[in-house]
Amino acid sequence: MRPLRAYRLRLERKARRWRAHAKSFQLAPLAQRTGRIRPGDILLFATIRNEAVRLPFFLDYYRRLGVGHFLFVDNDSTDGGAGFLADQADCSVWVTGAGYRQARYGMDWMNHLLGRYGSGHWTLTVDADEFLVYPHMDSRPLAALCDWLDAAGLKAYGALLIDLYPRGPLSGAVLGPRVDPVTVAPYFDAASYQLRRDARHGNLWIQGGPRQRVHFADRPELAPALNKIPLVRWRSHYAYVSSTHALLPRGLNRVYEEWGGEKPCGALLHAKFVHLLGEKAAEELRRRQHYAGAREYAAYARQMDRPLWTPRSTRYEGWRQLHGLGLISAGGWL
């Protein structure tokens, strides 16, 4: 890499760290239990907003995988989600009423907490509607994966965001507390993904899935990115660049094999398309706090009734199925 470009990326990374520091003053601790974090714990970081319904199952899911401590930023929820989290013994919660967009869609807050508490830990940065799936997850906890990544010298673990959707209308996919989203929205697209490599940060850029197929059929280039790097052995100088799509330093984005083999990777099941979306889309359009003027939510609001399901949709069965389809890979993890 040319020195000038390397230096520019360094400045970009420093700017992200500095922003994270500046925005950290927006966070007010509601329940701080970070003293309970033990060395070697796997930590989960998330920004939430009005997601109380989802939280109980979310916590259960990641506790079962072996997450040691949860660190949440609650952005102005009105549904009591923050209070629920503050009552959990393994959660730390900060609240803020500041702008989500101004905080780079929450990533400044995440970068701050990651740098402050995540250093030296394996950290998982996800949304409340994202569920990590990895090979062997039915018999091996997340710690087994992290230990193996350590032994293999890998610092980051990529995951494809797989949108789940129901067969019928969204209003029929009612997500109650402690309901596994896979049971109400079990379908996904197995094949329609396009990959390219981002020249600046070296990460993969993946688009496709039902959102592109239905909501962005006319302008597929605007479809949301599906490449994520949610699991990282964090160090204090790292920074997420845009959502969890890419990181700096740049080498962390090389979670894919360029020479033909397969590096280990997982998937994030994305349970966005459930009955909650209609309300959410209306609210986000009012707030205009999402990426590109909430263009994504505008598309949903316009086309809420268009079915995502087709006879060629695939019903989710588990990690083995995703592995067979080539959407995740054990990558030599026996």
């Binding site: 087994a144 329609s192 396009q194 490599r197 993969l204 060629r312 995740i328 026996l334």
Partner: protein, 552 residues
């Protein structure tokens, strides 16, 4: 004499697991000498000692910095083995294990096995000149060069120093009387052999030599056992496998059956959190005795598969973990063979609908500029691949690869036509999985059939690119003009590899095509005119005024 195996255990992490193993072995009447790496903090060692307290048969030895690849590991082993032999005179065999090992067969089986093979040393020991034991890295040079640097800490210097020695031809001479042998670090030696190695009058000389050799824990005992042993069985009693990078595979709860199946006495390396394995194999009642025979069954397949997945990947898989972009081939590889009709759609638009059959998927023009024609006109194909040209054109090569990877039908075909996505026409011509049946001159036919636009001269699409890696059979437009039904029959026979019934297709009349070509000044015009004349002559002879449909 009763057989009592003793154990030398090397531990450098997860000491609670190491302690658990040591307690178990001592509880079974097998003394253990533990060497804990000097880099482990003292408080953690104290924790381990306290766990092992009260067990008379566990000893701790002087702690050394036993860095990977260094002689300190051999020194630590020597000291622990010496201690074991001195303090426990009833120990008849010494096995070297690590803190991350587990016994996967009953210890009574081991006793019986050793008793059934008296005076035998179980140590993998492969003659350097015969066996290719080393998977990746230095082999003979382990002995002939000097390695004073740590590979882990000074990798760059390490490599440069090896290079310098090679350039200058610096080579060491082996001490006389020893034959270099290599093998697994984990062995089980008889008291007699081990004592002979430790009390060899030339030990100082040997130690001095191995001190600067590379990874001596895989050469020192393996070489010296050859000097002293009565009988060597060149295999390890510990099951372990290494990945492509030489790192040991870890074993988890779901590997329990695999470990039992391998039929070794020990397995390495066990993941520290494998509660199920620890509970099962460290329970004296949990492992049923299976006698004194050792019948290892080959279990190479999962390891070979894991290696292949990591190093080569699955053809057609593109995703978060695999995006080949540095391979020396010019394009992404398709995962399976497929058939391409190139140009015939210009003659018979939409004829792919007549080509479908059980086990045979016939797509139309997948790469037409304005549409995607899946078989049966489907709006989406397997995996919800959409018939949306905008989405397809985001990455048309990946579109084709995804289509092929998720297709179960025995045969897949697609149509190309002049004017289709030029990048994909070239991609297919370069694809070794493609079998192309091409109508040369189809761009002329397409322009002729389209008819002249209002007030415009007809525009020819560029001809199909030359076929390179794909397999191809080519017919010329002139052949078609001379005998349309015959050519079409030949095309389909070639496509399905059998004389299949040719579907009834109304062939269009192509009168005037030769004139059309001549008006454009096309180089093939005379050839077309000759073919047209030949057909007209034959038709006149047959008395047939109209072209008959194929298959009638």
């Amino acid at each position: 004499m009763a057989v009592t195996p003793g154990f030398v255990m090397l531990a450098h992490e997860n000491l609670d697991r190491a302690a658990q193993l040591a307690r178990f072995l001592a509880g079974q009447g097998c003394p253990v000498a533990v060497h804990v790496d000097a880099r482990v903090p003292a408080d953690r060692l104290a924790g381990m000692r306290s766990l092992c307290d009260g067990r008379m048969a566990v000893r701790f030895t002087r702690r050394l910095r036993s860095e990977w690849g260094s002689f300190a590991i051999v020194r630590a082993t020597q000291e622990a083995a010496g201690l074991l032999l001195r303090e426990f005179p009833h120990v008849s065999h010494v096995a070297l294990i690590s803190g991350a090992c587990l016994p996967v067969r009953a210890l009574d089986d081991l006793r019986g096995f050793l008793a059934a093979h008296p005076d035998t040393d179980f140590i993998e020991s492969v003659d350097l000149r015969i066996g290719a034991w080393v998977q990746d890295g230095l082999s003979e040079e382990r002995f002939t060069l000097r390695f004073p640097l740590s590979w882990r800490r000074h990798r760059w210097l390490f490599d440069r120093w090896v290079e310098v020695q090679r350039r200058l031809g610096l080579r060491r001479r082996l001490p006389p009387g020893i034959e270099p042998h290599l093998g697994s670090q984990w062995w089980c030696l008889t008291r007699r052999t081990l004592q002979a190695i430790l009390e060899d009058p030339r030990r100082r000389e040997f130690d001095r030599f191995f001190r600067w050799s590379w990874i001596p824990d895989e050469t020192y005992f393996q070489t010296l056992a050859r000097r002293h042993a009565l009988r060597i069985d060149s295999r390890s009693l510990t099951f372990s496998r290494f990945d492509h990078w030489g790192r040991p595979h870890l074993f988890y709860d779901d590997h329990a059956e695999l470990l039992v199946q391998t039929d070794h006495f020990f397995a390495r390396k066990i993941w520290r959190g494998a509660e199920g394995l620890y509970a099962r194999f460290l329970d004296p009642a949990g492992v049923a005795p299976r006698g004194t025979r050792l019948e290892p069954r080959p279990v190479e397949r999962p390891f070979a598969e894991a290696r292949q997945l990591r190093c080569e990947g699955r053809p057609g898989v593109l995703g978060m973990g695999r995006f080949p972009c540095r391979w020396h081939s010019p394009q992404q590889a398709t995962p399976r063979p497929y058939l391409v009709f190139d140009g015939f759609d210009a003659l018979l638009p939409g004829w792919h609908r007549a080509l479908g059959a059980p086990g045979r998927v016939s797509h139309g023009r997948l790469f037409a500029p304005d549409r995607v024609e899946f078989a049966d006109g489907a709006p989406v194909w397997t995996g919800n691949l959409p018939a949306n040209p905008r989405i397809r054109d985001r990455a048309p090569d990946q579109f084709l690869i995804a289509l092929l990877r998720h297709e179960d039908a025995a045969q897949v075909s697609l149509q190309l036509c002049p004017g289709d996505h030029p990048q994909m026409m070239a991609f297919i011509a370069r694809d070794p999985n493609a079998r192309i049946l091409r109508l040369e001159g189809a761009e002329l036919l397409a322009a002729f059939r389209a008819g002249p636009g209002p007030g415009h001269a007809p525009r020819l699409a560029p001809p199909s690119p030359p076929v390179t890696a794909a397999a191809a059979r080519i017919w010329h437009l002139a052949d078609l003009l001379a005998d349309p039904a015959g050519v079409l029959g030949a095309v389909l026979a070639e496509a399905w590899g059998e004389a299949a019934p040719v579907p009834a297709l109304p062939l269009p009349r192509l009168d005037g095509l030769a004139d059309f070509a001549a008006r454009l000044g096309h180089a093939d015009a005379p050839r077309l005119r000759a073919a047209e004349r030949a057909r007209l002559g034959r038709e006149a002879r047959d008395g047939a005024a109209t072209l008959r449909a194929v298959g009638e």
